[in-house]
């Protein structure tokens, strides 16, 4: 590998590390199933590696990568019909546009979420963390809830966190 090529590869690794959450988040918004979104993320990452020579250093890598992800989602829609990509074309485009519009605030929301999680009581936090690590059934079992109660609690907690994050950003903006 030449020195120039090695530098370029290092740059790719760095950019991927920095932006993988945003790329995953973008795909997950369009394909709201975690495993399907992860599959598309894998495919997207391969295309990113293949096409990295087209990327111009100094431009917005995340936006460029999300554009590739968008085409991968579109391709998945053709390939798997609605089994993976549940929204119709028009809604998909509208949601993608909103996601791009909200991209600048994403990092701040991610950081604020970590502080909001600390404010939850331990049992609720355990439910959420187990849900995202191992699924709803195990989360319900571990926190001594019925499945129905766990679903209800998750709905409540997501809204609570959503509001907490929004309020945190408003407070920061006005501070």
């Amino acid at each position: 590998m030449s020195e120039q090529s090695a530098d370029r590869t290092k740059e790719l690794v760095l950019l991927m590390t920095q932006h993988q959450r945003r790329i995953f988040s973008y795909i997950y918004t369009l394909v709201p199933d975690r495993h399907s979104a992860e599959d598309i993320l894998q495919e997207t990452s391969l295309v990113i590696c293949e096409k990295f020579s087209d990327f111009r250093t100094g431009t917005d890598f995340a936006a460029w990568a999300c554009q590739i992800a968008w085409w991968q989602v579109r391709a998945a829609r053709t390939k798997f019909a609605r089994s993976k990509v549940i929204f119709d074309e028009k809604v998909l485009e509208a949601v993608a546009a909103t996601a791009s519009e909200l991209a600048p605030e994403q990092s701040a929301r991610h950081e604020a979420l970590s502080r909001c999680l600390q404010k939850l009581n331990p049992r609720d936090r355990e439910l959420l963390m187990t849900r995202y690590e191992s699924g709803v059934e195990e989360a319900a079992q571990r926190t001594g809830r019925s499945l129905v109660a766990a679903y209800k609690a998750l709905t409540r907690l997501r809204k609570l966190l959503h509001d907490c994050v929004t309020n945190a950003l408003i407070s920061e903006a006005t501070a």
């Binding site: 590998m1 090695a6 590869t9 290092k10 790719l12 690794v13 991927m16 590390t17 993988q20 959450r21 790329i23 995953f24 988040s25 997950y28 918004t29 709201p32 199933d33 975690r34 495993h35 992860e38 599959d39 993320l41 894998q42 997207t44 990452s45 391969l46 590696c49 549940i86 929204f87 119709d88 809604v91 509208a94 949601v95 909103t98 909200l102 994403q106 929301r109 991610h110 979420l113 999680l117 959420l128 963390m129 187990t130 849900r131 995202y132 690590e133 191992s134 699924g135 709803v136 195990e138 571990r142 679903y151 998750l154 709905t155 997501r158 809204k159 966190l161 959503h162 994050v165 929004t166």
Partner: protein, 527 residues
């Protein structure tokens, strides 16, 4: 619609939550789609909700690792789909193109997290389950409740204990060393390596002393224990003055009933013994495997050949031995390889095993007076063909880290130190299993067995090593007897080194240790 009503906001939140938890009906998806199509506010709320969930996916992985570590299991984080893009980029960094399997397989990597699986379903017959039916080979996490309506199910714990439950029965799996029988009947078979395995219920705690016993638990809380072979220690529970109740030992052909009122003889003991002694013929599945094995039985010359069922064997070139020293010694099975401080030797890994090692087993003999300052890794190998994970085995020479002379395994993310003393001039059987995760999305973990017994070990997380620290020469090669490429090696004898591309079960490890053979389908069915 642009401005939403409060009711619509509540509904939107519920629809999104249903979608996230995979329980949204077609009607609900359609309703959500409709709201997203019409309202900018709905789209913004939706996008932020999905981003919040994506963040939670990430945070949940991080927070799990902050939990305290139990004594006998370390988790091995799967090289998850989540980190696949980075892995892909890293592969490019190393100048290696991304192979198909690289992104598709779970790739083990040690982390310090809660244990994942503690047991697996090893056999079954005519099973009807309450809820989702587990499949043969499915792994069970600690805390898992098994509710068998009818039929027979055999569960093999990571400790090596095997329990067959007869439906209707409810069994809670607490750890690799403990189960709770809520109701129904079980038959436990506990090999010497799993002595200490416990079965508890509301009325009694049974500690196995290496045996076969049956237990029945009634809905009302009473339990009966029947010792078919060997002996068990029993401790009555939940009784007035329970603390004063002495532990007692039940021996072969003895039975006892335990209830709140105290312990009594069992009615119709003979009839029940006869029933429990009958063999339960569960169906077991033999999973195919690929292996590479060095027996070190050559006894002369400078080449150690490998036996394999998958591709060309990988020879180990030992270098020229001088007149004073030989590479060969008497082994645990036939001959063995004697390493006396000469530089490490290597073997290229290829074929199926080269693509991903799930189990490693070998015999080692360390000198009783092995120099503490001379301790170094005696076996290093990549766990996958691409160089993102690797492991090094040595004996522990740092008393601050754990038992001096115990097995020490180092990976990218830290070090674990076992408890069994290896530095005693005796042969010890070592096995390391890099497990598959119990569920999709879960993380897998490593299990270590020393002399067939699930090893207790402590975790020394340390500094996570970067990919760049992996010895370059380790790419696709195994190094034996010292540091890869190092000039001075370890002093020890090694015998019957085996690499397998799937995880071996505790009975398979025991069989291998006792017979030097991989278990066959016939043996599996007969046991």
């Amino acid at each position: 619609m642009n401005e939403m009503t409060d009711n619509e906001r509540v509904e939107l939140n519920e629809l999104i939550s249903s979608l996230l938890d995979g329980r949204a009906s077609a009607t609900e998806v359609s309703r959500l789609e409709n709201m997203l199509a019409r309202s900018d506010e709905a789209r913004r709320f939706y996008v932020r909700s999905m981003e919040l969930s994506a963040s939670l996916c990430e945070y949940s992985g991080e927070m799990q690792s902050e939990r305290p570590e139990p004594a006998n299991v370390i988790r091995v984080a799967t090289w998850s789909r989540w980190t696949a893009p980075l892995a892909a980029a890293a592969a490019v960094l190393f100048g290696i193109w991304i192979a198909r399997f690289f992104l598709g397989q779970n790739q083990p990597m040690v982390s310090e997290e809660l244990p994942d699986s503690v047991a697996h379903l090893s056999g079954s017959k005519d099973c009807k389950w309450l809820g989702a039916a587990p499949a043969a080979g499915d792994e069970f996490v600690s805390g898992r409740r098994l509710e068998l309506v009818s039929g027979f199910a055999e569960v093999t714990f990571d400790s090596g204990a095997q329990i067959t439950i007869t439906g209707p029965a409810t069994l809670d799996l607490r750890s690799a060393w403990e189960a709770e029988l809520q109701r129904g009947t079980l038959k436990a078979s506990v090999p010497p390596e799993a002595i200490g395995f416990r079965v508890v219920n509301a009325a009694v705690e049974v500690v196995d002393l290496g045996t076969e016993f049956s237990m029945t638990a009634e809905e009302g809380g009473a339990a009966e224990v029947f010792v078919l072979k060997g002996a068990v220690e029993v401790q009555p529970r939940n009784q007035a003055g329970a603390g004063a109740q002495p532990r007692s030992v039940l021996r072969e052909k003895q039975a006892r009933r335990f209830a709140k009122a105290g312990s009594t003889d069992v009615r119709d003991g003979d009839g029940k013994f006869q029933r429990f002694a009958a063999k339960i013929a569960v169906e077991r599945m033999a999973h195919p495997l690929n292996y590479v094995r060095w027996s070190f039985d050559e006894g002369a010359g400078d080449i150690a050949g490998a036996a394999t069922n998958t591709s060309n064997g990988s020879e180990i070139h030992l270098g020229n031995s001088d007149a004073q020293k030989s590479h060969w010694t008497r082994g645990r099975w036939g001959g063995a390889l004697q390493m006396d401080g000469q530089p490490a030797v290597q073997a290229k890994l290829s074929g199926e095993v080269g693509r991903g090692v799930r189990s490693i087993a070998c015999w080692v003999k360390l000198p009783a007076e092995a120099q503490v300052s001379g301790a170094q890794s005696f076996l290093s190998l990549p766990l996958n063909r691409l160089p993102q994970t690797w492991t090094e085995f040595s004996w522990n020479s740092l008393p601050g880290d754990g038992v001096l002379g115990a097995l020490r395994m180092q990976t990218r993310q830290g070090t674990v130190v076992g408890t069994t003393q290896l530095r005693d001039a005796k042969w010890h059987h070592l096995a390391a299993i890099f497990a598959q995760p119990a569920k999709k999305g879960n993380k897998a973990h490593t299990k270590l067995y020393v002399d067939g017994r699930l090893e207790n070990f402590s975790v020394k997380p340390g500094t996570r090593r970067s990919l760049a620290e992996m010895p370059a020469s380790l790419d696709g090669a195994l190094w034996l007897g010292g540091q890869p490429g190092g000039s001075i090696g370890a002093t020890l004898a090694v015998d019957e080194l085996l690499l397998v591309d799937r995880q071996l079960s505790p009975p398979e490890i025991r069989h291998l240790m006792q017979t030097n053979q991989l278990i066959s389908a016939e043996v599996l069915a007969a046991n």
